[in-house]
């Protein structure tokens, strides 16, 4: 923070007022409406109206129907479990790809640093949905990716990628990569490169040097990058719907269709509240474990 003097008085409050009111009415109060809707009597409908009966059973019903897996096999997972696993996997792959890219930009790009940063963001200005449609083409059964994998016998001759969890995780990883790269870059770029050179001199193995010096120093970026990737990836359903099949449905898809197609507001709201609580819980736990509480 600069040495700017913060003025006291009414002006500050007046400047804040319109923005704060907007966020209160259209961001904070809606959470209250959501919780309220999740406690409506499920026998109502959006046309006849709902009765507020504090029907906590909505949560239990939603959890049994969409949260409880039918078995251990991936095909038997529930949409909720699937979302967490797919989101987690996508975050993991984003971390690996994003770290390599951010490290290369921060330390190896030289005078091309700015250009490379621009190139990281550029593809993501093309619409999210159009990008995901491209993956549909790339992963298609007669596409070059499937053909190559079949040629290498990684995939059976009748194997395919589209409509499988692999395709969904591929799409999620691709679409949320910039959310990982940018915070990682911000964090790695701040590291004094001489520390890394010193570690290379002192540790025989560059890998040991990396895990003892670079990685710990980049942790703030790792934490914010993984959060910024994981949270939207868990809630996303565009990838699961466009690249997956009915057996890869994610929780966002269930909530969306309960709201817009089934018009079952109480169940949809209960699921939505549970997703939010689950994510807040996981984030708090994770931030505490990672020890970077000053982030929040």
């Amino acid at each position: 923070m600069s040495d700017t003097v913060r003025r006291k008085g009414r002006t500050g409050y007046l400047l804040m007022l319109p923005g704060v009111i907007w966020l209160l009415i259209f961001f904070l109060i809606p959470f209250y409406s959501l919780v309220a809707a999740s406690l409506y009597d499920p026998s109502g409908s959006d046309i006849d109206g709902y009765q507020m009966t504090y029907h906590w059973g909505n949560y239990w019903d939603a959890l049994v129907q969409y949260g409880k897996p039918d078995g251990w096999a991936p095909a038997d997972w529930s949409p909720l479990i699937r979302s967490l696993v797919y989101g987690g996997l996508a975050t993991f792959f984003c971390l690996i790809l994003g770290y390599v890219l951010a490290y290369a930009i921060a330390f190896k790009a030289g005078r091309w640093k700015n250009l490379m940063l621009v190139l990281v963001i550029a593809p993501f200005f093309t619409s999210f949905l159009i990008r995901t449609l491209s993956w549909k083409l790339l992963l298609a059964d007669d596409g070059w990716i499937v053909n190559t994998l079949q040629f290498l016998h990684i995939l059976g001759s009748d194997g395919h990628l589209l409509a499988t969890p692999v395709a969904v995780v591929t799409g999620l990883t691709y679409n949320f990569l910039p959310f990982m790269v940018l915070p990682l870059f911000a964090s790695i770029d701040k590291i004094d490169y001489r520390l890394i050179e010193a570690s290379n001199d002192l540790y025989a193995n560059p890998l040991v040097g990396f895990f003892k010096v670079t990685w710990p120093l980049s942790l703030p970026g790792v934490v914010s990058g993984t959060l910024l990737t994981f949270i939207p990836a868990v809630g996303d359903y565009i990838n699961a719907e466009l690249l997956g099949s009915t057996s890869t449905r994610m929780i966002g898809s269930v909530i969306q269709s309960l709201f817009t197609e089934a018009n079952d507001y109480p169940a949809a709201s209960a699921l939505s509240v549970m997703l939010m609580i689950l994510i807040i819980g996981m984030v708090l736990l994770y931030v505490r474990r990672a020890g970077t509480e000053e982030l929040l």
Binding site: G19, P123, F128, I130, G235, F259, I279
Partner: protein, 269 residues
Amino acid sequence: MRWLRERIVLILGLAVLVYTFIPIGVVVLMSFNKPKSEQSKLYRFEAFTLDNWLHPCNDPSMCAALGRSISIGLLATLVATILGTLLAFALVRHDFAGRSMMNLLIFMPMASPEIVMGSSLLALFVAAGFAGQLGFWTILIAHIMFCLSFVVVTVRARLAGMNDTLEAAAMDLYATPRETFWKVTFPLVFPGILGAALLAFSLSFDDFIITNLNAGNTTTFPMYVWGVSRKTVPMQVNVIGTVMLIISIAIVLGGEYRNRRQARALATN
């Protein structure tokens, strides 16, 4: 071997960068695709044509959706940028009670899953009796809401990185507070505000999940793409994707060029 060892990270990094461009290549390629039949469900390259570029509005409903997305984007950007800039000034330049609550309120919309924000807003609209009026205005309200935080964060970063020496100098030279603000402060913050506005527009233009929940029967461009993705995708969609890419790269490169020229001008003075 030594050459490779020194450059392996850069090579891997470039490989990741190439990977991010593969689907973009597909978008550009498909914008020149001529599908075998109009109803072809297969989404693959068949033959070269310029038709898609010459007749982008072959499906009028696509261009209507596009126009709607652009007007919502512009309006949402305007309102979110004004409200967000005022908020950023208050946060950096003014003292007030409840600063940490304020920071939390601004941070939360960026950290909440879209599906939760979208369904909450829908629950509010339904509870308030607007279930039948979902459409342009409810989409606009939602977009202003989720763009606002990003504007605040971007403008705040610019303001916080600026020290007030120049403003103090202007005041010493008997500029009135108003003159100081419009002749010194505002021009200095402006690049941050412009960046925030561009970010807000691209967020609004691209949003699907929140929009889809609060749109009623109104269709925005992402919703149109979603709709056709289940049936036949008109190749014109890829023309729009390519144009968006070109415009954004032009804006970013233009900004970069301006920065370099300014830096050079400052260096030679």
